[in-house]
Amino acid sequence: MGYLVNRLIMTVITLFVILTVTFTMFRLMPGDPSVFFISPQMSTETIARIKAQFGLDQPIHKQFTNYLGSILHGNFGHSFFYKRPVLEVIGERLLNTIVLFLPAAIISYLVGVGLGRYMAWKRGGTSERVLIFTGLSFWTFFVPWLGLLMIWVLSYKFGLFPVGGMITPDKWLPGSTLLGRALDLLHHLVSPLVCYVLTWFAGNMLIMRNSMLETIGEDYILTVRAKGLSERKIRNKHAARNAILPVVTAFSMSIAYSIGGCVLLETVFSWPGIGRTMVDSVLLRDYPLAQASFILIATVVLVANLITDILYAYLDPRIRY
């Protein structure tokens, strides 16, 4: 319990540091965000007055304390670009990202772990060589290229899936059924999901394979084998469970890394998620949106790490904090 409290305090401190760095970084970048709401024809006095309303006339430290105060009140400000509350913009897009990435991450994890386990068990065989070659090939593919290739083949050539987007508008109009909407969403989900799984499963697969190879050489595996347990039980219950720890770590880290992939994937498949919005907000000097996005990502990574630590204790009874 004490450990958990310590970790939580550390998480909050880390978040504060990230928040400070992010805030400073955006202010140091060249470019004035007031480009969004002032006109060259305005007088200098008018421009100064409008900048003051957006708080851009304040010294940096004052802007920072104002910002911290607002965050503590749950107010992340208004997006300069979308002209809406930042939380509203992020909220709807984050949900879209979760719809795509949560199942995609889980499937790629399950596929990777399953195949890694299988490869280690059947080490040295043709299937291992084929899987390593296939996995590494997809692992090294450039996501936008693979995505566009999939769109070209599956959507354009065979017309199986939509080119992009999350829904077909005419299937969501009043009068459409819930089932119809769900199926339409699923229809749009398949291509980006498969693209994600293809590019991410290999990482989990190779870590699991290597970890399994170490585990199956351990004495206790020999012992359980001597006890006469079935191969399936030895593999799944004794070898795989001990080998899975590094994959759990990799999974939490992959959440952070997959944000980079999510930007590319969302752009290629026109998925209205947080990744694309985040990149646009940085390019457009949309400080409030960019800062909130970074804080969100930092929070996700920190929380994922925290969960990993807790999971460790659950998966390996020897680990106690």
């Binding site: 006109s39 080119v163 009068g175 398949v190 209205p272």
Partner: protein, 586 residues
């Protein structure tokens, strides 16, 4: 267990297939039975609030709701679809000047807002007063010529102006009009707020009410916006002359417009080829043309020109760029033919003036052009002789040997001081490849004259900051927006626009131009205005505050098997007139 796993895999696969097939066969609701034009946009709109909308894509949608039809009509007057003459839009007739400071405009009767209420002079007065009170950035220039707006009766407005100038027509009289009933509540709330401009700027319009040909139905953030036809549109069923001998009849004849947003142009093009959308309201790259031309259901239009002229603009505040002869020499070094043939693959036209060659009425093609019909050797030879005459020297003088140019090194000004490194600033390759690549090529061409140059490719806000906000630049490669009426001849070159944030970023203040320009602003006769615009272009071509480079051809593609009656205009075939006039093929 192995069987169990197999079973699971089979079930998941079947579910996926089921999902896919079912989604395909589920009958679409209303939209499938009605005619819906599906338009791909590459950038999602920011807002439906016309006070803070900026991007072009955003305005495509807003204009269909608020105005539609004609070129750039947002208010009382507009331009004819092809000849681009002033024409009454929501006004009944052309303005009547009572004296040099008072003008009366009569409104059409029977114009309805989308909620069924009537459009009146009160809406016009409210809008202009509102822009004045809140100093709305997008509309600031629409009210700075006004003293007062007076409602004479529900269909008559009297404008008291500072002076009689054509600026009033293309600024105030063409500005977007807001509905008083809807906006007065917002204004009342804004007045109570401690940051009123911020309140207005960030106000979220969820159900915009306009007078245009299409009404707002629904928006799904980041995904689509749906509009439906307005059967009460005041231009519905009217046939008007396009000004070039033709005519158009306004609908709308389609039931709905669906704006669908794509994350990138390549995906949108695949959607267009596959029939998922009917067109893309975005200029396409020339590289897409061959593949689009192979698609049977698509027509590719490349004739009209886009409305911005790319240029290399000089900061005239310091030597040597303040020296006209130095600028002329640099102009001779630019190979516009190369830019058109290689960079734009032929899908562009060299521009000799700060005007769009596609706008034939206003474009003066007879100004000094510095490149046409001249070989590289002859251009550089001319440039070197100009520099020598102006007193420039080199550590190593550039030379012409046959058809080759032997680059010079270390150019010096007439006072012996070395010419410092000239920085060419422009947007990044990803944001605008034509501008970025032009800047790089120009830099190389100028180096041959012994001018040390470097290019600085930056994000757009940085460009705005360095050039417009701080005036810290040497040369900018950028695109000037060209209006249907050549208003840009005023705002980019007016000495009154030289200040921090001003439009005349080059600080051009040649007296002869200023005098000619102010005389021209008082000319209301169309032919006389044309002569004046030609004269202004001649002066600019001689003074060269910036070197016009080229205009891109506007490449559009649309599905001709679903809708017919598309109208080609100077800004491309996908435009507000087209969407107000097209009809379903079947």
């Amino acid at each position: 267990m192995e069987m169990k796993k197999m079973r699971t895999i089979v079930i998941v696969t079947m579910l996926l297939c089921f999902g896919m097939v079912t989604a395909l066969v589920i009958p679409s609701s209303a939209m499938a039975k009605e005619s819906t034009v599906k338009i791909g946009l590459v950038m999602e709109p920011q807002t439906l609030n016309p006070l803070s909308a900026e991007s072009e894509q955003n305005w495509h949608i807003i204009k269909m709701i608020y105005c539609g039809g004609y070129i750039d009509p947002r208010g009382l007057y507009a331009y004819t679809p092809k000849s681009l003459e002033w024409i009454p839009y929501m006004a009944e007739s052309m303005p009547q000047w009572l004296d040099d400071k008072t003008v009366v405009v009569k409104l059409k009767k029977g114009i309805k807002w989308h909620d069924g209420s009537e459009f009146t002079a009160e809406d016009v007065k409210f809008t202009l007063d509102f822009f004045g009170e809140f100093e709305a950035a997008n509309y600031y220039n629409t009210i700075d010529m006004l003293e007062k707006v007076e409602v004479v009766d529900p269909y008559t407005i009297k404008f008291h102006v500072k002076e009689k100038t054509t600026l009033l027509y293309y600024r105030t009289f063409m500005t977007l009009i807001l509905q008083k009933a809807k906006w007065s509540k917002i204004v009342t709330e804004a007045r109570k707020n401690e940051a009123p401009q911020k309140y207005i700027f960030n106000y979220v319009i969820k159900n915009p009410v306009g007078t245009g040909p299409f009404k707002f139905v629904e928006e799904k953030q980041g995904q689509y916006i749906l509009l439906e036809k307005n059967d009460d549109w005041f231009l519905k069923g009217q046939t008007i002359s396009t000004g070039d001998g033709g005519s158009v009849t306004y609908g709308p004849f389609v039931d709905r417009i669906l704006f669908k947003f794509y994350g990138n142009l390549s995906s949108a093009v695949l959607a267009l080829k596959g029939g998922e959308i009917d067109t893309i309201w975005h200029g396409l790259d020339a590289a897409f043309i061959p593949e689009l031309k192979k698609v049977k259901h698509l027509t590719v239009s490349t004739k009209p020109y886009y409305h911005d002229v790319k240029f290399a603009g000089f900061n005239l505040r310091e030597k040597p760029l303040s020296d006209k002869m130095f600028r002329k020499a640099l102009a001779y070094a630019i190979d516009k033919d190369f830019l058109i043939k290689r960079l734009l693959q032929g899908y562009g036209t060299a521009s000799d003036a700060i005007e769009n060659p596609g706008l034939e009425f206003w474009y003066n093609g007879n100004v000094e052009n510095y490149f046409r019909g001249k070989s590289e050797a002859s251009r550089y030879s001319k440039a070197i002789s100009i520099l020598k005459e102006a007193g420039y020297t080199w550590d190593k003088e550039p030379k012409i040997e046959g058809s080759r140019v032997i680059p010079g090194v270390g150019i010096k000004m007439s006072d012996g001081k070395k010419v410092r490194t000239i920085e060419i600033i422009t947007r990044t390759q990803a944001t605008n490849p034509q501008e970025a690549q032009s800047a790089i090529l120009i830099s190389q061409w100028w180096k041959k004259l012994g001018v040390d140059t470097k290019t600085n490719l930056v994000a757009f806000p940085t460009l705005i900051n360095n050039v417009w906000w701080e005036n810290k630049f040497d040369v900018i490669v950028f695109g000037n927006i060209i209006e249907p009426y050549p208003v840009h001849l005023q705002y980019y070159f007016d000495v009154k626009e030289i200040y921090q944030y001003g439009w005349n970023v080059m600080a051009y203040k040649e007296d002869r131009y200023q005098k000619a320009m102010y005389d021209w602003l008082k000319v209301f006769d169309w032919d006389e205005a044309r002569k004046g615009a030609f004269r202004l272009q001649e002066i600019l071509a001689d003074d060269l505050p910036h070197i016009p480079l080229f205009v891109l051809k506007n490449i559009h593609a649309y599905n001709h098997t679903r809708f017919k009656g598309w109208i080609e205009q100077y800004n491309g075939v996908v435009n507000k007139d087209s969407l107000s006039c097209i009809r379903p093929v079947k």
